[in-house]
Amino acid sequence: MKIVVAIKQVPERDAQVHIHSTSNWIEEEDMQWALNESDAYALEEALQLKEKHGGEVVVVSAGPERVGSTIREALAKGADRAIHIDCDDLNQRDALGVARLLSEAIRAETPDLTLTGLQSDDLGYGQTGVILAELLGLPHASLILHVEKTEAGLTVKRELEEGWFQTIELPVPAVLTIQSGGNKLRYATLMGIKKAKTKEIRRVTSQDIGKVAPPVVVLERISVPQKQKSTQILGGSPKEAATALVEKLKFEARIL
């Protein structure tokens, strides 16, 4: 089974984010980068499928030079080879623009299965994977927690709202967007990092892939969320307070 995993490098969870003077992107200097979380789960799912059924795992990532470190991390965790789509203007592309880049690279690989995280931790559009399937002309399913290979194709477990799950079958080749938390992630090892050094990273430039139309969606402005505190102290006896709390959780917060 040949599986392609499309991954994205995003700012590290703990990184201190400062908005760039153009106010439509963040300061990239001194930023620490990491593999997008749901992409890490997509990679894990691919590696487990490969371990069970054999085959090859190829990672594809678009972005500038710095993306190389995240690609090497994926190779260290067990991917066999990688394609780096070199482009310096990733943040100016919309989901369609990124999906076009990825689709051109992936089409040439003719994989049985294409996986990617369901959304990115930085922009969070949740669109790239779905558009990618459309551009490749392949069936797709989103929010996937678990993938099983069957005679006919795939059986996948989707996450729905309110704790519901859906199990569906679909043929291969297909594109799936993976939800976080379906598997336990493996940790990177020294041996993996050393092996990764000898694995192939093919670099292609965005120009090689063809001209891209101007973005349909333009990022105008980003801002830091305004902090607001609205603590309420519920008085009365513990019983009264608890009753009031349940009321509020039910009708104001609507989480019960």
Binding site: D14, T189, L190, M191
Partner: protein
């Protein structure tokens, strides 16, 4: 009775046949010894070279050899009675070296110790005194092993040891008996032969029993790495730690064959004493079995048939085993080496472990919290940032920066520094020092963390660091050396002890029992400073196990982040021991010990003693004006 002019034990005029028989027997015994010993020596020498081994400087090696081998200092200090008995046997053997040489020479008719000369006479009596001590010693050890039977010697009685004890006793008895008979008598001849045969039987038993330590342990002590828990750097791209036989270094193989199975390591091991699978002695003996059956060129994994992975990951790295070992075995580089082998190759699968590794691969702290939590704490406490102008860089660490109790300790330590007028500042960003991943054997993450922190410190031009955490102190000072030059660092107990005379004292008779953290005591040799701080705040009470024999809290070696599933909890056992001293306060000097005891004491309910760090004990006595700015 002793004749007026003692002829001293060596008969003369052997028949030619007797001489021939002696030569044949001696050659046979020697050959048998060599046939058994040479494969062991070959295996040790065929093991991988220790890449970082340096013979020089010799001073430290000679001094260790003198203390631990010649003086038997560790053997005696840590187990006085059996230690002394062993020392007498050892010194007896040393004194006997010349006598034995002469004894054999006599058999060939070329004896060189003249019993009528002043030296010969002196020496025979000198050796006789040792023979008495040695016989008494071996008798004592026999009684201990076969009648007293302390449990760490193992459940299985070693008949070999009994037989060897008998041989040693016979050697001494036959030597002493000869003082009472005339040289020319048939009894003297009989005694000579009895002594000779005992000796020749003894020799070939040495290599395949624990008595091999007679031959190897002096070399093991002399060649040891020396510094406590010294984890050797990985050598080259193919080195991932102790994975298979090919990874065993000469030092590891030598140490595996040197084990005397005394069980001191087991006696003090927190895992072995709380029902875990780990028994440090069995780890060493497992390596020995591996070497015997597979050899140092084998690709068979070290963890599997011969040693258990589960056991290797139960070690708290408290170091009681390495500290106690009388034959120079360095357990920590071995245990951590086995973990490195398992983690660096991905063979270790553990949910908690993977969670910790992933938290430190991506984030900044072992608690898996957002770094902004640390920033919030710094703002709330109004801690100044280090800008190069202050005397100290205050290293918060994961516990000090993120753990609620650790933060309280930092807040109180800061109050003390403010009171003293000591200038300090904290770094804008810190990552975990790498202590838990270092001890768990994850070299990849450890290197990333050490390098990132070293760079942060170099950029901030940090010269002097103080920390409330012994794990941070140890890792920064010793372990970071592999990747750069760490700044000078001290533990807050050392800082506080130095400033005690300027600090107010409470007139309190409150009993405070002090718990020695492993990483402050055994790792750093700091025992008295925290005690001085405790004594300044109340009445110091000692726990039954204290100083270098302190019993671990269970948190070290990354285990604070793993699940302790088997047997009793180490922290509960130690907390119960501290409670039993009747002290109203448990004084700690490590935020990890503190958090372990907090949980253990919580299960004791209201009657439990108070739990306070030495910084908190000190801050209690400060005037109210030095109260913390915020809670």
């Amino acid at each position: 009775m002793i004749s007026s002019l003692p002829t001293l034990s060596e008969p003369q005029h052997f028949l030619f046949q007797e001489k021939l028989l002696f030569v044949v027997l001696a050659a046979g015994s020697g050959l048998l010894f060599w046939r058994r010993f040479s494969p062991i020596l070959t295996k040790i020498l065929a093991s991988k070279r220790d890449a970082d081994f340096r013979l020089f400087p010799l001073g430290r090696r000679v001094w260790d050899f003198f203390l631990e081998v010649v003086c038997q200092a560790k053997v005696i200090r840590q187990r006085p009675l059996p230690g002394l008995a062993h020392a007498f046997v050892f010194w007896g053997f040393c004194a006997f070296a010349l006598v034995t040489l002469n004894h054999c020479a006599v058999g060939l008719g070329i004896g060189f110790l003249d019993p009528s000369g002043w030296f010969g006479r002196f020496y025979f009596y000198f050796a006789a005194a040792f023979a008495v001590a040695c016989a008494a010693g071996i008798l004592g050890l026999f009684v201990r092993r076969f009648l007293v039977r302390p449990r760490w010697l193992g459940d299985k009685l070693s008949w070999e040891s009994g037989f060897i004890a008998l041989l040693i006793f016979l050697l001494m008895a036959t030597y002493l008996a000869a003082f009472f008979v005339a040289d020319t008598s048939a009894t003297a001849r009989l005694l000579w032969w009895a002594h000779t045969i005992t000796l020749l039987v003894f020799l070939p038993i040495i290599p395949h029993t624990k008595h091999l330590h007679l031959v190897l342990s002096p070399a093991t002590v002399f060649l040891s790495r020396g510094s406590f828990s010294h984890i050797p750097p990985l050598a080259g791209d193919e080195d991932f730690g102790l994975v298979a036989g090919t990874d065993l270094t000469r030092l590891v193989s030598l140490q595996a064959y040197s084990c005397v199975e005394c069980g001191r390591c087991t006696e003090h091991c927190p895992a072995a004493n709380t029902g875990k699978l780990l028994n440090p002695k069995e780890i060493i003996l497992g390596l020995r079995s591996y070497l015997n059956e597979c050899g140092p060129a084998s690709a068979e994994p070290l963890l599997g048939k011969y040693n258990s992975q589960e056991a290797a990951f139960e070690c708290t790295t408290c170091g009681a085993c390495e500290f106690q070992c009388p034959v120079g075995i360095e357990h920590l580089p071995i245990l951590i080496g086995l973990r490195r082998g398992a983690v660096n190759t991905g063979a270790w699968e553990d949910d908690y472990g993977a969670k910790l590794f992933l938290a430190l691969e991506r984030g900044s702290n072992a608690l898996g919290m957002s770094a902004t939590e640390r920033d919030k704490f710094i703002q709330k406490q109004e801690l100044p940032y280090f800008d190069g102008s202050q005397e100290f860089c205050l290293w918060l660490g994961c516990m000090g920066g993120y753990d609620p109790k650790g933060r309280e300790i930092v807040a109180d330590f800061v109050r003390v520094m403010k009171y003293l007028g000591t200038s300090y500042g904290v770094l804008r960003k810190e990552k975990c020092t790498g202590d838990p991943v270092r001890r768990l054997g994850n070299d990849l993450v450890y290197q990333q963390l050490a390098e990132a922190n070293l760079e942060t410190m170099a950029q901030a031009k940090v010269k002097k660091v103080v920390s409330i955490c012994p794990h941070c102190v140890r890792t920064i000072q010793e372990d970071w050396k592999e990747y750069g030059t760490p700044p000078a660092i001290e533990h807050h107990s050392e800082f506080l002890a130095r400033h005690l005379s300027q600090l107010p004292t409470v007139q309190s008779q409150e009993k405070i029992v002090y718990h020695d953290p492993c990483y402050l005591g055994r790792y750093r040799d700091v025992y008295e400073e925290p005690r001085a701080v405790v004594s300044h705040a109340g009445q110091l009470v000692e726990a039954p196990r204290s100083h270098e024999r302190s019993f671990c809290c269970g948190a070290g070696g990354g285990l604070a982040f793993l699940g302790e599933e088997k047997g009793e909890r180490v922290s509960h056992v130690r907390a119960a021991e501290l409670v039993e001293t009747g002290a109203g306060i448990i004084g700690t000097a490590c935020p990890f010990c503190n958090t372990m005891f907090r949980d253990a004491l919580a299960s004791k309910g209201n009657g439990a003693p108070q739990l306070l760090d030495i910084a908190q004990l000190t801050a209690r006595a400060l005037p109210a004006s030095a109260a913390p700015t915020t809670k």
